[in-house]
Amino acid sequence: MAQLELEEVTKVFDTSAETIVAVEELSLDIDDGEFIVVVGPSGCGKSTTLRMIAGLETVTDGEIRLAGERINEKSPKDRDIAMVFQSYALYPHKTVRQNMAYGLHLSTDLDSEEIDHRVREAAEMMGIEDLLDKKPSSLSGGQQQRVATGRAIVREPSLFLFDEPLSNLDAKLRKHMRTELSRIHSEVGITTVYVTHDQEEAMTMADRIVILDQGSLQQVGEPKEVYHEPVNKFVANFIGSPSMNFVDVELERNADGSGRLVGQEFDYSVSNRLLQQIDPSVSDVVFGIRPENARIDPDAPVDGSVETTVDVVEVVGSDNFIYLDLAGKEFRVRTPSEVEPAEGETVRITFDEDDIHLFDSASGEALAHGYPDADVTATVERSDTTADD
């Protein structure tokens, strides 16, 4: 178990055709025993970051420290890590038992009896005791995943690395393995860095989420924090499903400190509490609301609601997803299943001020969150320092 620190870690791929900055000055402090999920769209540098920690990619610039010790130059085998790959990377010519024991044979002085004991223990934890003498090719995807995880657990490393380990499983199994992995983490308590492109996985598993885009850090925070107080439009859009609605609006201030957000077919009054978070010179903003925070309400007050037309109604059982047309742009609302307007119908949608987010229209940075506990300035500053210094 150990603490992992990344200090201004940069990775540049220099090919003859082009120079790609895959990861740019990434700084992160990961506490002992923490479960960190690194999330972002493909090509954001999350896998490269993980591979640098593993020692499978060189670090162009910056420093990686594990338990206070610089590991940049150490080869993967000397880093005391274990990794689970998306493709599982099991050795096809070895049995499950041999796959799990291989690392212990190679890099520890344990005798065969001790190794066998640890393999059986890990197999029990993963529920694969009856597969120990089989070859990987005769296992299902889910079983292979368990073996790959078991192979990592048996090493009892300082650090676990997971590279999209559940991506090749079907949805149901993925959800099951998600809880399984969380359970194992709480049992063994080893520091874990888990890479995924699935924000739901990130939200459900992480102690803290690290969101990357185009190689640079966007936000680090607990799942609730990145959900309620995204630092910018990218994070707001990436976290949550279906993703947040954005409307370009102009901020008009009244003399008493309150104001109105005015856009195409959009007019919404906001209070002083929200506006005092925003610099008075700013007028072009992006209004954001999550689909689950908007609701259809025919009796809503006119200055606190918007009129739209229903495009499509998607019934998913527990909820309905309503796709609306707001001035030619799609606006998504998640409603309880009993609210099911007809397509083409005009409905009135409304939202609480507590749930709205305002972003700078030029930079995309968050300006204000309606969430009562939001301390936007602090969040933004902290993520700035982590990203830039």
Partner: protein, 279 residues
Amino acid sequence: MLNDNRRSRVLLYAGITAFALFAIVPYYWVIRTSFLTNIAAISPDTGFIPALSQFTLESYTQIWDRFAFVTFFRNSIIVSVTATIISLFFAIPGAYAFARLDFPGRKVLFYTAVFTIMFPWIVLTIPVYEVFYFLNLVNTLPGVIIALSIFVLPQNIWLLQGFFRQGIPENIEEAALIDGHNELTAFLRIVLPLRLPAVAAAAVCAFLPAWNNFLWVLALTPDEAVGTATVPIYYTLGSDVLREWNVLMASLVLLVAPPVIFYGLSRRYVGEGLGGTPK
């Protein structure tokens, strides 16, 4: 439906039988002739299946008496086995690098290597002789070995890089690195054992041209004592006046036997290698 199936099945077997006969008859003819006397071999009275009384080992004993049989075959075995080993020694890492690593000039080097496969042997014979003469390698066994191993190298690289490109699970080397290997041991202990059938296939493909090579051996070894078996067999043809067909066929049988045995022994691996990924 059933009739249709049966008819196409009959046609299929008929086709296969015809093809098999076409392939097997020449071999049979070679073996048959090798056990006849010279006169019986060319006599039109000798049947397709000769009478038992006509069989003799005369031609084989003649070869034994007339030629330095042991020397030639020993040379052949030394040359082909060594050339196979040397070419694999260089082809395996080369092919692996072409297939799995990215380095500057990879494409240019690869196509240069592959391009040499398409070069006709005969065009290279004189320059190769010049070079080997300069290096004092003419008329030496190492000279023949070096020439043949270099000759089969490009085709081996090409063949093996195809095998290394597929059939190795993603990230397997990386998993090995994390498990405690370095790059070299990960390759030797994990990747190579996985692709052993492919290496066996490549070994056969290197052994055969080395064993069968005639032209370069003829050019590089004017002295018969260091030549391989292919060249002396050419001399058994004798004069144009009296060709000893039985002796020629007997030496042919002896020449073909070792590769057939070699293939038989490695068939299990080679079949897997050429057939695809082992399960």
